[in-house]
């Protein structure tokens, strides 16, 4: 009997070694462990043995059965792994360096930069206002302390329409409406006015690589009881450092704009050389970026706000100019051209 067991074990081992797939394994399982297989036969053959022998031999047959079952399972697992490895082997290597075609959409670069600016101001509690492109002479000039025949009207050659309205020549044209919108909350509830208003502006001038008759600005105002020049400088420095994502130096120079007093031209340290002087800042170390100032008392008055009680600052950021600086666009006219060769390059920039 012992030799029989050894024989079964050897035959099983040699057949199992030859098995190549799950079908072979199933055949081996049926052959050795099935109802008509040698293990069953051995079990059956035990009926003629003595009790003592039954005990010894039965244990051995059971051992054999367990051994065959384990080996079969082992081989099954092995073959499965082999099959996976084969499948992995059969998977081709892709050439990740092949040129891609994303079919991405694109934002107008002004939208991208405008959103960045809006985000910065929103985080500081400013409301984002939207304003018309066509405004009245009052909004664009009179309410901003620019009376008729003021030379400042020459500085901004304005497009007038046949009904007496005009295409706004600066985003400051929205100031009066903003003050009127928020003054009650300011006066009655002490809510400071904090607003920015990006928008499209128009100037009647000949166009070239540096001049456009249609461009974007972003105006900002803040009015409260004790807004100071010191606050203005702080906000401008913080905002511009955020926009350019570096700690910028800013400097103010006196600048004349009828709707602010004092009025400033704000320069930032050159983005290229950091202030040491290079060709792009004409070796001055500074870039003129944005006019700003303390809101003129007459402008506050026109907005229904008492300048004795409240002060505020205002600034006008040239969004189009910022876009050109940020992306290195040399010809301003590209922005309104609608050329997809230009525009499709500006996928999301956040």
């Amino acid at each position: 009997m012992e030799s029989k067991i050894a024989l079964v074990r050897d035959e099983f081992a040699s057949e199992l070694a030859k098995a190549e797939n799950s079908a072979d394994l199933e055949a081996i399982r049926v052959k050795y462990l099935g109802k008509k297989g040698p293990v069953t036969e051995l079990m059956k053959g035990m009926k003629d043995l003595s009790n003592e022998e039954k005990k010894t031999f039965g244990q051995k047959v059971n051992e054999l059965k367990g051994e065959l079952t384990d080996k079969l399972a082992e081989k099954t697992a092995f073959l499965k792994e082999q099959e996976i490895l084969k499948e992995i082997e059969a998977t081709p290597d892709f050439d990740i360096s092949m040129p891609a075609s994303l079919g991405e959409g694109s934002y107008h670069p002004v939208t991208l930069v405008q959103r960045q600016c809006e985000q910065i101001f929103k985080s500081m509690g400013f409301a984002v206002e939207d304003y018309a492109e066509i405004v009245s002479d009052y909004e664009c000039f009179e309410a901003l302390n620019i009376p008729k025949h003021h030379p400042a009207r020459d500085m901004q050659d304005t497009y007038y329409l046949d009904n007496g309205q005009l295409l706004k020549s600066h985003t400051s044209a929205a100031q009066n409406a903003i003050y009127k919108k928020y003054k009650d909350a300011l006066i009655n509830d002490g809510v400071p006015i904090k607003a920015i208003f990006p928008g499209r502006c128009f100037r009647n001038e000949a166009t070239d690589a540096c001049h456009e008759n249609t461009f974007f600005q972003m105006e900002g105002v803040m009015v409260d009881k004790d807004i100071s020049i010191s606050n203005l400088i702080y906000f401008m420095k913080t905002m511009l450092s955020e926009v350019f994502r570096k700690d910028l130096k800013v400097r103010l120079r006196p600048g004349f704009f009828p709707f602010v007093e004092p009025g400033f031209e704000l320069d930032i340290s050159c983005l290229i050389c950091g202030g040491d002087g290079c060709p792009s800042c004409k070796h001055s170390g500074w870039l003129e970026l944005c006019p700003c100032g303390m809101i003129h008392p007459e402008v506050l008055k026109a907005g229904g706000i008492d300048p004795e009680e409240y002060t505020g600052f205002a600034f006008g950021l040239g969004l189009t100019r910022l876009v050109m600086m940020k992306y290195g666009i040399k010809d301003i006219r590209d922005l309104n051209s609608g050329s997809l060769k230009t525009l499709t390059q500006f996928t999301d920039d956040e």
Partner: protein, 786 residues
């Protein structure tokens, strides 16, 4: 405007101070200085005074002379010189061996067979004028060998200030006013201007002068005669030249010099031509020839200086040719006046002629300047030509009084406005140095504004803040954030909608955002055959191509599509922009914010493209408003619209836009082999629609049932309507699974989904509803296919 540091130094002692640093601070405290600073005279060296001792003709050249010059070094130097004005005994500027003129170093040089050991120089070569007609003729008694820089003010630091940054500062249009700023910045005193005492002429006759029009605010004049000098001193000529003016003759130079020094334009008339000075306007237009020989049209608004009724000058702009000083002029009448700034500005615009004088008058000049300017003129004239005689008393008339401005404020006002603390002493010192009268009692200031700042510049307390802070220096400010309470900020709905539209179009549909102009493009529209529809117009467009404001973005967008027709076989662009739909009832422009989308394809059939665009619109509405859209057939309103498949877009019952194809002729001009679809919606109207909400319904846990029905119909709409009319809560949705053509025409196979929340449905349970739908459609003549 160019400014000379030498000139400024006449009035402020800069001893021991860094002039370049002062210029930098001027830029930060007063007005922007252009980057390039000119170091005049720095590029020449070794040029000395030398006397020509002998002159010989060059044997072979008609032009050249052989000179021996004494350059003060105890020997005679041989020089070959081509200048025509050489003569024995003449002193000239001589560049010795080793001298430098710009990049050139003077070395012994052979000229037509002779060696020249140096070079005689013209004023141009020395850099002090553009006169290159001959070598310098030095009149001064000065030792040979004297460095030219010791003799004349060749060396100077000249800087430029952009005129635009001085528009609000009438006092900065001359060196004296600029010097006042430098004095304040440097903390040094400003020296008074030296002037002649005119009171000693009070007994002389007055000039017959009368202001007959209040546009002339002040008119001061004086007669002078017996002027024998005709040439200006070299140093005066150098200053004029460095400041961008050419020397003409002594009188012209003096008026220019005065203007550059004090900012006060002056004019000299031949006294014979202005016996009866009258300042007035004329009732009728006429022509007038100015001293530049140009005949100009003068209208009834232009103020004129007249001799009786004969005009002799355009006030504040330019003198007349006929009253100009000529060779036999013996007596001249000096004019120093102030005119209404707006009137001068308008006149220069009408005449299209801006002069150095009018530029200054436009800024509201200090009316107190007219008399000191004459007194200064007389002083300078008599220093140069001691024989010059004043032959009239000062004749001076005012027709205008400016406001004397007094401002009261206290220190806490300054602290609050600045956000920092500037001490009282600094405030007093700063304002005093700028010419303000200051009285301080405790913390209360009372400030008198000087006349040169009072014409329009400084009128209120905030202006005083600027004076204090700009001299204090913004670089010196301690900066800090505000102490304001926090309140929530709600975003504006329309802005949010606009942002979401852009995100969906870019991120989900891969469209490209473009901007176009707010006006129609005549030429481009014409090229596409798009009609230019009457609308609001620009009154003053310099470019006739852009006169009419657009009613819709679609035509400008189609122009952009054409421009990009070779960019890619398929692309889509969009713009959120403004249009004007005519005038509103109150006469104002009906400005609207629109979204325009165009899809272009060379690969897709037009119907597919059209449905893509429709689905984009549906997505916008579903995503932003949780609402479906309806479409209704529309009539052609614009000639670029294709009459087929033109629909209005309806959201929540309100018409918000249009979708359509491009009229065939326009399409062919854009691109023959492409399809284009467009849609435009009104962003304001769309954002005003009240959004639907998400309505959650628990999905049934039991299997539902699908019923497919085929109807002979070319349109889906009646099928959808019949299903909707069945008004059955068990219906969860409807799809189209097939459309096909056979002998009966077009058929649509729809699949209706049924589900019950609490049990598994059987076909029998929904057949009543299905039969109802079939019956309704058959009632409309739409047959069920068996």
């Amino acid at each position: 405007m160019f400014l000379s540091m030498n000139w400024i130094s006449d009035f402020v002692d800069f001893e021991g101070l860094d002039k370049l640093e002062l210029i930098r601070r001027f830029s930060l405290s007063t007005a922007e200085v252009e980057n390039e600073i000119f170091f005049k005279g720095s590029d020449i060296s070794g040029i000395v005074v030398a006397e020509i001792k002998s002159v010989e003709e060059h044997p072979e050249s008609k032009k050249l002379h052989l000179l021996k010059v004494d350059a003060g070094d105890g020997q005679l130097t041989d020089v070959v010189c081509g200048a025509p004005n050489v003569r024995v005994g003449m002193k000239t500027a001589f560049a010795k061996i080793g001298a430098k003129i710009g990049e050139i170093e003077i070395t012994p040089r052979a000229l037509a067979g002779y060696t020249s050991y140096g070079m005689c120089c013209s004023e141009k070569e020395v850099g002090i004028s553009d006169d290159n007609s001959g070598i310098m003729d030095i009149k001064e008694e000065v030792a040979n060998g004297t460095d030219i820089k010791d003799l004349y003010e060749v060396e100077d630091i000249v800087f430029e200030v952009d005129n635009k940054s001085l528009t609000n500062r009438p006092d900065l249009w001359g060196h004296y006013g600029i010097a006042r700023e430098f004095a304040a910045i440097a903390g040094r005193p400003l020296k008074p201007l030296e002037t002649a005492d005119l009171s000693k002429y009070d007994s002389l006759k007055k000039i017959d002068m009368k202001i007959e029009d209040e546009l002339c605010q002040r008119y001061s004049c004086l007669q002078v005669e017996n002027i024998t000098e005709n040439v200006s001193p070299v140093n005066m000529k150098i200053r004029l030249y460095y400041c961008g003016m050419r020397s003409i003759n002594l009188l012209a130079d003096l008026t220019n010099y005065l203007m550059l020094e004090m900012g006060q334009p002056m004019h000299a008339f031949d006294s014979r031509k202005v016996e009866k000075l009258r300042i007035k306007r004329f009732d009728e237009a006429f022509t007038f020839t100015t001293l530049d020989g140009v005949e100009r049209n003068i209208d009834e608004n232009t103020l004129m200086i007249c001799n009786g009724d004969t005009p002799v000058a355009i006030a504040g702009i330019m003198g007349g040719l006929d009253s100009e000083i000529v060779d036999d002029t013996t007596t001249l009448t000096l004019e120093s006046a102030t005119f209404n700034a707006v009137s001068i500005r308008k006149s220069t615009v009408r005449l299209a002629h801006r002069t150095d004088a009018s530029m200054r008058y436009e800024k509201c000049l200090d009316p107190e300047l007219t008399v000191p300017a004459i007194a200064r003129f007389v002083k300078l004239l008599q220093d140069i030509d001691s024989g010059a005689q004043v032959v009239s008393s000062l004749t001076d008339e005012r027709a205008f009084e400016y406001d004397r401005i007094n401002l009261a404020f206290n220190k806490s006002f300054v602290d609050r406005y600045t956000g920092i603390s500037i001490d009282n002493d600094t405030i007093v010192k700063t304002l005093t140095s700028l010419g303000f009268g200051v009285e301080l009692a405790g913390d209360d200031f009372s400030v008198t504004v000087p006349s040169w700042r009072a014409t329009k510049d400084v009128t209120m307390k905030a202006d005083i803040i600027e004076e204090i802070t700009r001299i204090y220096g913004y670089d010196n400010f301690d900066i800090h954030t505000t102490a304001t309470p926090l309140y929530p900020v709600r975003p504006a709905e329309e802005k949010t909608v606009e942002d979401r539209i852009k995100d969906i179009l870019v991120k989900r549909f891969s469209l490209h955002e473009a901007h176009s102009y707010v006006w129609v493009y005549y030429d481009e529209y014409k090229a596409l055959g798009i009609e230019i529809e009457d609308n609001v117009k620009l009154m003053n467009a310099t470019n006739p191509n852009i006169e009419v404001i657009r009613k819709s973005i679609i035509p400008t967008q189609l122009c952009q599509v054409k421009m990009n027709n070779t960019f890619a076989p398929d692309f889509g662009i969009f713009e959120v922009g403004r249009v004007v739909e005519g005038y509103r009832e109150d006469g104002l422009c009906n400005e609207r914010k629109k979204l325009a989308v165009s899809l272009f394809s060379k690969t897709k059939p037009v119907q597919q493209l059209y449905f893509e665009l429709r689905d984009i619109l549906l997505t916008l509405s579903a995503d932003i408003k949780h609402l479906p859209l309806d479409f209704a057939g529309a009539k052609v309103l614009h000639n670029y619209e294709h009459p087929k498949n033109l629909n209005t877009i309806i959201c929540d019952g309100k018409e918000i836009g249009r979708i359509g194809l491009v009229y065939p002729t326009v399409l062919k001009k854009i691109e023959k082999k492409a399809n284009i679809v467009w849609a435009e919606i009104d962003v304001t109207d769309f954002s005003a629609v009240e959004a639907g909400s998400i309505r959650y319904e628990e999905p049934s846990k039991f299997p539902g049932i699908e019923i497919d029905l085929s109807f002979v119909s070319s349109k889906f709409a009646p099928i959808g309507e019949a299903v909707k009319n069945a008004n059955c809560a068990l219906i969860k949705g409807i799809d189209v699974v097939d459309t096909y053509e056979d002998e009966n025409g077009q058929s649509i196979t729809s699949r209706i989904y049924f589900a019950h929340p609490e049990k598994t449905l059987t076909k029998e349970e929904v057949m009543d509803v299905v039969n109802g739908i079939i019956a309704e459609l058959e009632g409309k003549g739409i047959a069920l296919k068996k």
